[in-house]
Symmetry: C2
Subunit: 196 residues, 2 copies
């Protein structure tokens, strides 16, 4: 694509983004250089700033620019509940429900032996220390309902059971607004078992 | 997604990339900050450098860091042939066939009245000046075989006909409705040979 090293370097750099192949990277580079140079500058500065400023919250491990994130510092929250999620996006989804007022622990990943991600990589030690610090009474496992998420939840519950904590898992069931006919059978089976 | 302005700004900036919505932007930001900070720095520098260094070739209008791109400066090329393409990616596709040894003019877009892109926006005046500079004998219209690409080819041929130039269009070996960038090289090569 033309004869510029700057452009070639940009395309190669864009390919480091997840889900971006060579065609998408070319299209992105073309768009930025042809139609949105201001966007390229903005993105450049945002990347440099975030890579330098964003760190992990000491208590819940989520992204923050401070030592402890504002959620952990919020004294109106119920410190006896700890909700374990995989990513900040999952945390954000739980937050938006408005149905949870406790604290979080963000794993920043999930156990995935095939990708070489073990207990140490997702900071399970840190989670156990946090869950056993004396204030937490209930740990809500809100990892995803995928194979890796389920395995992660299993390993956490194995590590924490018999420690006097109340361990719960998000309920499995039929999504709100869906029609039974289109829900997969495993979900319906779980919803039947967990009926209340 | 967590409580950091740097992260929020990064997500908003990533959304300026074509084809990137809020979920993809969150995923990209998460990936870069959690797994590839070096990638974030690299991309930041590549963006800043490209936005500052990349300009348009004076002769063919493609991206280059010099005043005139290396393709236009290549004296082994047949200066009597001018191939008109929409984007540098299209030019690159034609180049890779190895079946064309002339020069190029890169429109950097296509006529698209619905998007408010008219003849002035894609530099048709510049193309006409270039095509009529005395050295060009044949203009090969290699715009995409989409509605906009065909319209663009039509407008160019209307503007150049009766000027003593040999005007050709890539043969319809290229499947109608597809874009050059995604066509296999053999088809493009055949279309070049069968140009009319």
């Amino acid at each position: 694509m033309a004869d510029t090293n700057a452009l070639e370097t940009l395309i190669q750099s864009l390919r480091r983004l997840p889900g971006v192949g060579v065609k998408s990277a070319q299209r992105m580079a073309f768009h930025l250089l042809q139609h949105d140079r201001a966007g390229a500058q903005t993105l450049s500065m945002a990347l440099a700033h975030a890579a330098q400023a964003v760190q992990h919250c000491e208590r819940c491990h989520t992204f923050t620019e401070a030592q402890v994130c504002s959620t952990c510092l919020d004294t109106r929250r119920d410190a006896s509940k700890l909700c374990v999620v995989e990513t900040p996006a999952d945390q954000s989804a739980v937050e938006r429900t408005g149905a949870y007022k406790g604290l979080y622990f963000v794993l920043m990943g999930k156990l995935s032996p095939l990708d070489g991600i073990g207990p140490h990589d997702i900071g399970l030690k840190k989670l156990f220390d946090r869950a056993l610090d004396g204030t937490v009474l209930e740990v809500i496992l809100a990892t995803n309902f995928t194979a890796e998420g389920e395995a992660t939840a299993h390993v956490i519950s194995e590590g924490l059971k018999a420690r006097g904590l109340h361990l719960t898992r998000l309920a499995r069931g039929v999504p709100v607004g869906s029609e039974l006919e289109y829900v997969d059978l495993g979900t319906i089976a779980h919803a039947l078992v967990d009926r209340r």
